[in-house]
Subunit: 448 residues, 2 copies
């Protein structure tokens, strides 16, 4: 590869107003779609070359799906044969300057007429570097592949250890965080314990496998209804998951997880799904940032800079109905992206902007085979198979590409009838810089 | 993970004869299938936890398929619900001792009654460490994911480089080796140049993309018929591939490939598909090894050790019809594995062994959309669409799992009608130990 310093962004000069979108997540792609054919030059920056359908990421981690089923290349979504004057660049943004209206990236600078920050969130370790070093996050596709390989390797090693305590540690899985990711992961692991692992690892006593789910609040899925939280708790208990509420994980040194309630769990695998923080970009003045998110008005405009917008998880729009901002799920990002697309057109025409109003379409979480919880508008709460069917339908329909829908649906049908997770392949993704602890595990198996 | 030194193989003691199979490739799995229910304890060692359908590996490299489409977990193939007393262990074998009848692995030793070496081949750099360091092999799934990411990143960078020479180097792809891997990869890349990349990279002049295929012999696909070689050459030329015959690549420093004919090609991507060598295991006496393969008699027995067998690519069985051994493709391995399964049963019953006779079912290579070459038994040679249809049918049918067949077929149908390679995701696999040059490229994009 060529060093970034020798590259240039190479965005063609244009007379059209230039919209720079940072981030190809739900907000970014829905905005870009709305701007198609609307007399803008659209530039999108992302560190990844794909849009990920993150609600299904835990499926990649539990060997249910391969990455291509939940991700779609951004250049495929906005190919030149259907989108004129769209320019994707695989770069990391360093900072923005809202005064000079310039975005600074690792390969050069670009002037914008409108800037949209749609960078979403990143894993939040709350400053605990030890947990950051030893735990497994579940935020990106390489994380999911890494976690999948880790879990399978733990079982491979469990089948080869003569020491009962070591084996127990390999078969203890601690999930920190009872939000959707933690709950869905715990459910999927419990299903694997029931239907897949006993046949795969006959030499291992599957009853020794423990799945711990640790949540700091007094209920699971805190953003959902109390009814759904209770159902979720009941389902997970029924599946054999050890749920601990009102407790934090205080430390993890790669061997022992210490909980605030005094419990100590020996484990080789601690999955950190306990929180996210806004993926902020340098350059905005401090008064525009609150609790790691960018303060915006009802038009998603950043305080003091009418041509700078933030949408999705990174944006904090306080309204009467949502005084702490909208929930960090796909729908607000999608709806804000769509509305901003329309509002940019209005801005160009000097028409008044339309304020954002969130349409809550409900929340869903899947817990296991046939089990899900759903909070639908109108205070309706479903559980069990009906919720599961709704979950499946909504998620398959929301998947981006025609092809992905097919892949996911056929995988689901296959799993439903065979109880099989198909893709139990140990394939390690890249190891992050400085992540020597994990690098060692990888090298151990690649001494070729 | 637990250090190997603290692990043990944990294979249960048994009164049945113990067959140890090293390698879960075509030979190993076909042997294991035949031994099911036949009063043996079967132990399989592999460094990977899956069986790969390697004829389709180039499809993973060119974003046509994801790994799960071409690989099947070995524990799923031989799960305890359908195979009693089968034991898979994810370990690396260090050496064997045919005198004491012990296999030495990184996690311990195991005594065998019958030993089957089915380790296949590894990439052969013919001692050129520089090429080993800078080139991209295509032998394992991580190789394919790495190459896919490399090719896509070259295009990402080509869209951002202000220097025409740098851009040309990013858009030159040199494939060394005109065997099936090289030919199929060149064809797939040429199809991407035609149907996928122009829309993905509108800012890049696609005419600058060059695909070089360099072969040392005087024709492509040397093991196939002259007719097929000529058709292949014609098809590839028609697709715009620069084919050079009778030439070797002498050096590659990561920037310039120097050919023996004096040509110098500036390229960021040199793919090494020029040769394989047997993946030998220490411990067999030198007289049993010839040109990197293990000499076996017509029963696949290793000279001097009637209870040690070698099958597939690692075995060298010289016969009148095949004085240099059988071709290094799937069929000899499959057939030898199946026959050895029967012969081990005969050995137990003190019945005479049946000698191996290779049934040549023909060879196939795919070159592009609708284009393939086929040599079928009876001196029949096909080209064009018919060969392509045969190729597709044979390969889909030969895929291991029911699910994989479905995944591959639906991908193919999708690609056929849309000209789309679906999985153009840049996801880096692990970086091999000591591979600092490549690690740097990875880190550049992961400075999180």
């Amino acid at each position: 590869m060529i060093p970034f310093a020798d590259l240039a962004l190479n965005i063609p000069e244009t007379r059209k107003p230039r919209v720079v979108i940072i981030g190809g997540g739900f907000g970014g792609i829905n905005l870009a779609k709305k701007l198609r054919g609307k007399n803008f030059q659209v530039v999108m920056f992302d560190k990844q070359n794909y849009h990920g359908f993150w609600p299904l990421l835990y499926q990649v981690a539990t060997a249910g799906l391969e990455p291509d089923a939940i991700a779609e290349p951004l250049r495929k979504l906005f190919g030149s044969d259907n989108y004129e004057d769209f320019h994707f660049r695989l770069v990391k943004v360093k900072s923005v300057n809202p005064v000079t209206k310039i975005v600074h990236t690792l390969v050069g600078d670009l002037k914008y007429d409108y800037l949209v920050i749609a960078t979403g969130t990143k894993t939040n370790y709350f400053g605990n570097d030890q947990i950051k070093k030893f735990s497994f996050p579940l935020k990106q596709i390489p994380d999911a592949l890494n976690l999948r390989s880790q879990m399978l390797q733990c079982f491979e090693q469990a089948s080869m250890t003569p020491d009962p305590e070591t084996q127990q540690s390999l078969m203890n899985f601690v999930i920190v965080g009872g939000g959707p990711t933690g709950v869905e992961l715990a459910g999927a692991l419990a299903e694997m314990k029931r239907h897949v692992l006993p046949s795969d690892y006959p030499g291992v006593n599957i009853n020794k496998m423990n799945i711990y789910l640790v949540e700091g609040m007094d209920r699971l899925l805190p953003p959902m209804s109390k009814e759904s939280s209770e159902k979720t708790y009941k389902y997970l208990k029924h599946l054999g998951v050890n749920v601990t509420l009102n407790t934090l994980v205080e430390s993890y040194d790669g061997e022992v997880a210490v909980l605030k309630n005094g419990d100590r769990i020996h484990t080789n695998t601690l999955i950190w799904a306990a929180g996210v923080a806004g993926a902020l970009i340098d350059g905005l003045p401090p008064e525009t940032v609150e609790r790691g998110r960018i303060l915006v008005n009802e038009y998603n405009q950043v305080l003091g800079y009418p041509e700078v917008f933030a949408i999705g998880d990174i944006a904090l729009m306080k309204t009467d109905k949502w005084p702490k901002g909208h929930p960090g799920v796909a729908q607000p990002a999608i709806q804000q992206g769509q509305l901003l697309g329309k509002n940019l057109v209005r801005l160009q025409r000097n028409e008044p902007l339309q304020p954002f109003e969130y349409t809550d379409k409900g929340s869903l979480a899947i817990i296991g085979r046939n089990q899900a919880v759903a909070d639908l508008p109108g205070n309706m709460h479903f559980g069990g198979f009906i919720a599961w069917a709704i979950w499946l339908f909504v998620h398959v329909m929301a998947l981006v590409g025609f092809r992905n829908k097919l892949v996911v649906l056929s995988n689901w049908v296959y799993k439903f009838f065979t109880y099989e997770n198909g893709t139990r392949l140990i394939i390690r993704p890249f190891v992050r810089k400085g992540d020597r602890a994990k690098q060692r595990f990888v090298d151990q198996y690649n001494t070729d």
